[in-house]
């Protein structure tokens, strides 16, 4: 190498050493121009050169005195040169680093040690360079110094990495598995267990006592309240004017957005958590469960916390084979969950239950945590067996045969949390045992001899236990549901037997046949009720302590005679012709919904003829009809009944004028009956005149109305 160049480099190294010394002495009193800041920021890039060059140089230095190398001129020159370049690049790096450290946020132990190690490397390397050919610098000393330098490079480099990337940057992937235990919600403190871990994870890599960017420290309450160089971090209860909230909600590309772009960002939940925490006054002591239930902050906080603590069972699991052998169709034994030692036992089918079946469970008495003997004939004696299931948590004794004397035994159950004795004969005296079971949380006492007053007293004595009293009949009578008519035929020729029932045992059904509403003195229904004429049947259910039901209403029609032939003068409308004229005697009535094909409809006068092969004596002709204003369906304006012994001897037997519906009348089925003196009849003609002009309130005013009929009853 050119000797001049080498001389210049040596001088530069010397000057750099002096400059570093100068910087170290006066760094607090100097102000640097902005462009130097950029030079400083090249420190993290430039530092790789001295590390590599010096490491190689120190290796070569270490072996320099080995006989094979000591004679090689190239080796010696190369080492010298590398050492020089290494020392110079180290010096430059250190100067850059010192400039960088003047920027905000580089304080703390890590930075300080890194600084002194860096400076140390420069001084040692320079020292080696200058003295390495002196006599006192023995081969041993050369080795020692090179090792020391290498150590300094490794330690200094590591400290620098910590400053840049954060502590444990390298080891984090190994350590992260051990997530710090989350506090269960019952004892979590809002700040300590929710807010602080969030700050630590997302903010404190820059804002800590080591780095303190923007002079903001988040290590403790006092620091947080103090804020940074831009003022207070937040105003309690006023999140909208708080710097913290402003910064985290800026768009990510903004320079002032926090956390800095490229660092792990805050999730929406985390942002909301900080907002709500400040909104509720940024309290450092408040517990999560002190917040009202359903409170937004509480709900969010709960997301960050561990769920309520699951119970850990410490006892050993039972043998799988034993569990299997204990399970049968009427006694089921199974673990709470996969890999859980705890067992649940259910009994089914009262007839299959024996005390022995319960005793056999002693094989797993340590492991049973839930026992369900609901509705089994369990006696006081069996409770002795149950009391040996030492780890029992939940015990369902509903509707068993226990009397309460045996309940004492349960005081041996140290972990019992939930006890169900609904439907048992437990009275006020026997229930007292629950005082002795300190672990109890809930007791179900519905349908026991215990009175409301007793239960209230129990509640007062045992504030930590929830007593569920269940449904109590408030004494207000409830309305009965309707009786059910089992008879499904409503048209009969001679007589009809009416069958009725009511689902509630002991209910009386009372009825009327005169279209009045039945009351408590109306005729009592018995199974021999037989009707023999057309009428409206109404029935209601009555029972003591109940309100009577609504009335059920059914029309029954007697259809004494069926003609041998029936036909129309003009055919009905195509849409409403049912099964033709014979539909008028098919014993099937139509519904309010007239589109179902059971009605015969005319938008003109209806003329129907009926013929008997053998004359019969009639005194009544009735038409079953429909009215429906919306569908322009009206009763006939006039009904004429003509009859006689045959077709040629007809005379007018009766004429009626049905009542027309008014505006707002609802659709209904009705019967128009024409009565006349008993007459021998072989041929009969009915003329029903339709409405010529639908009234104004109708759907098609001034047009022709419809008449609908489905059955004719001749008696």
């Amino acid at each position: 190498m050119n000797k001049t160049l080498k001389r210049i480099a040596e001088n530069f190294l010397f000057a750099a050493n002096i400059f570093i010394l100068f910087l170290l002495l006066f760094e607090n009193k100097m102000i640097f121009p902005a462009w130097l800041q950029s030079v400083g920021r090249m420190h993290p890039m430039f530092l790789h050169f001295p590390i590599v060059i010096l490491l190689i140089a120190m290796c070569m230095e270490f072996f320099r005195h080995k006989s094979t190398y000591s004679s090689q001129e190239f080796y010696q020159n190369f080492t010298t040169l590398f050492l020089l370049i290494g020392a110079i690049s180290a010096a430059i790096t250190v100067i850059m680093g010192l400039l960088l450290s003047k920027e905000n946020g580089y304080t703390g132990d890590a930075v300080m040690f890194h600084k002194w190690f860096g400076v140390g490397i420069v001084f040692i390397a320079s020292f080696i360079y200058w003295v390495r050919n002196k006599n006192f610098f023995t081969p041993l000393l050369a080795k020692i110094f090179s090792v020391v330098t290498v150590c300094c490079i490794i330690i200094g480099g590591h400290l620098g990495a910590n400053v840049t990337h954060g502590e444990n940057f390298v080891s984090t992937p190994f350590l992260s598995k051990k997530i710090t235990e989350k506090a269960p919600i019952e004892r979590a403190v809002l700040y300590t267990d929710v807010v602080q871990p969030l700050l630590a994870a997302k903010c404190m890599s820059c804002h800590n006592s080591e780095k303190a960017k923007g002079n903001l420290l988040l290590d403790n309450e006092a620091d947080i309240l103090k804020g940074g160089k831009n003022g207070k971090l937040f105003i309690p209860s006023n999140p909208r004017n708080s710097l913290l909230i402003e910064r985290i909600n800026l768009p990510e590309e903004e320079k002032k957005h926090m956390p800095l772009s490229g660092k792990p960002q805050l999730s929406d939940d985390e942002k909301e958590l900080l907002f709500r925490w400040i909104q509720t006054g940024a309290d450092f002591k408040k517990k999560v469960i002190d917040l009202p239930e359903g409170d937004s902050l509480r709900l969010i906080a709960a997301k960050f916390l561990a769920p309520p603590q699951e119970e850990e069972f410490t006892f050993s699991p039972a043998d799988e084979k034993t569990i299997h052998s204990l399970s049968n169709n009427y006694r089921v034994v199974y673990p709470v969950a996969v890999e859980s030692p705890a067992l649940i036992v259910d009994f089914y089918n009262r007839k299959q239950f024996t005390s022995k079946a319960l005793e056999e469970l002693n094989a797993v008495k340590k492991q049973i945590v839930t026992l369900n003997v609901n509705k089994m004939p369990v006696t006081d004696n069996d409770l002795k067996t149950i009391s040996q299931f030492e780890n029992l948590r939940i015990l369902n004794l509903n509707f068993t045969d226990i009397t309460g004397n045996g309940l004492q035994q349960l005081s041996a159950l140290k972990y019992l949390k939930s006890l169900s004795i609904s439907g048992d004969k437990i009275d006020n005296k026997n229930i007292a045992v629950i005082n002795k079971i300190k672990s109890l949380k809930e007791v179900f006492v519905w349908n026991t001899p215990l009175k409301t007053d007793d239960i209230n007293a129990l509640k007062n004595e045992n504030k930590n236990i929830v007593f569920v009293e269940g449904y109590i009949n408030d004494g207000k009578p409830t309305q009965l549901n309707n009786p059910i008519l089992l008879t499904t035929k409503y048209i009969f020729s001679d007589t009809i037997h009416l069958a009725l029932k009511h689902p509630i045992p002991g209910t009386q059904i009372r009825y009327t046949l005169d279209n009045t509403d039945p009351d408590s003195v109306s005729v009592l229904y018995k199974d021999d009720l037989v009707l023999d004429k057309t009428l409206t049947f109404k029935a209601r259910a009555f029972k003591e302590t109940w309100l009577p039901s609504d009335s059920i209403v059914y029309d029954f029609y007697k259809s004494g005679y069926k003609p041998d032939t029936v036909f129309f003068a003009d055919l009905p409308a195509d849409k409403y012709k049912a099964d033709g004229a014979k539909s008028l005697f098919d014993n099937k009535t139509g519904e309010l919904n007239f589109g179902l094909g059971k009605w015969i409809g005319f938008q003109k006068d209806m003329e129907v003829f009926m013929q008997f092969n053998k004359p019969v004596k009639l005194h009544s002709v009735a038409l079953h009809m429909l009215k429906n204003i919306g569908g322009d369906i009206y009763p006939p304006t006039l009904i004429q009944v003509w009859g006689g012994i045959n077709k040629t001897h007809l005379k007018l037997l009766q004429t009626i004028k049905p009542i027309m519906p008014g505006n707002g009348d609802i659709s209904s089925l009705f019967l128009e009956e024409c009565k006349f003196a008993p007459t021998n009849i072989g041929y009969i003609k009915i003329i029903a005149t339709s409405v010529k002009n639908v009234p104004k309130f109708g759907t098609s005013p001034n047009k022709k109305g419809w008449i609908f009929t489905d059955e004719i009853f001749l008696n």
Partner: protein
Amino acid sequence: MEKEIIENSLNINRRKFLSQMSLGLGSVALGSLLIPDLFSKPDDDVSSVMLGMPHFAPKAKRVIYLFQNGAPSQLESFDYKPKLREMAGQDLPESVRMGQRLTGMSAFQAHFPLAGSVYDFQQYGKSRAWISDLFPHTAKVVDDICIIKTMYTEAINHDPALTFFQTGAQQGNRPSFGSWMSYGLGSENKNLPAFCVLLSRGKGNGQGVYSKLWSNGFLDSIHQGVQFSSGENPVLYLNDHAGINKSDRRKMLDKLAEMNDINYKQFGDPEINTKIQQYEMAYRMQTAVPDITDTSKEPDDIVKLYGPDCLVPGTYAANCLLARKLSENGVRFVQLYHQGWDQHSNLPKDMPGQAKDVDQASAALITDLKQRGLLDETLVIWGGEFGRTNYSQGKLEKTNYGRDHHPRCFSIWMAGGGVKSGIVYGETDEFGYNIIKDGIHVHDFHATCLHLLGLNHEKLTYKSQGRRYRLTDLAGQVIDGIMA
């Protein structure tokens, strides 16, 4: 069988691959890249080991699902929107609708007149939940239930929406929710099916229910829902023919099992084993079912609690009472369907009847389970397949209107079994049209229910036709906010 062969050869390959590459850390690292489960317990094995058992300690052991078939209106039940009354008759703003697809039934309306509830609302319980006057009994148990106002679904018509809720997919052919549960948890009581179905219908405009909704899909047929009917024989074909006594039946079944067993050894079809098991269960059901369906011994208080209709077989009230009895006897999943909630028109005339049918008995079920100490371990769900529009389908009159299908938000309630009680979850906008906060998708709902039952919805899988299926498909998040 084929599956086992393939799996076996895969295992051999893995071992061989590792032994050949056992040259150093690098190869092991490569090995672990190629076979991600190499150093950990493979996740997939977990599901096969865990069958018939919860993956972790469950909150709920059983489910009673009170399905309101046809979709009850949220705006006349649990989602109080006074704004709709104020703005009655005005058009639904496009800024609210945001291009939401509508059904063919109202899409072509010239106007979408907003319609407020004709029923008043009051606040109840510690959560001050708004509940309409149509549900006075539900209002009394408000502190025991969790009202969710922000359910949403993807389907807009009954069948796909119902199928989505029941099977996790809109198209059908997948196992029903109850079947998954039977598959995941097994049956508690071996004398009854793990999955029972009860039907009832109200007087309102109804929509059908089909047996595909309780189908086992590709799961073993033992997980199929068993329908209980209201007639003389609650379970069809269960009773022996006249003239056959119990011991004859026993002998016949034993012989049949023997023959089936020969067949099984020959062909190895697991469905044969299922059949044997089902015959055996049916035999035991012959004694268990009459006991359970007999409601005549229920005390007067229970009849008053559920309403006297609970003694009329086939009514919703009777089904609620039966559901309690089945659940009490260890039936994992009791599925009720009550038809008649499809109020496209005449809503004010139809809905009171529908509400009256279900209100008292639903609330009674909660009270009854609670007083027996069973509510803690039974998850009760009440709700339909979607909601109804805030505008009137057809003409809006002062006292009459209808509502079309609305999938974007609707209300359901859940109770017991690890659900937070006495809260109202989620917020909808003042039009009752969009979700503002905390929406729960059908997949989320399923994931949460399974979680409460101690099942990890991502691990409860079944491999069919080359792919592993879940109830929650490839989605679903457990909603912490509704869990106690």
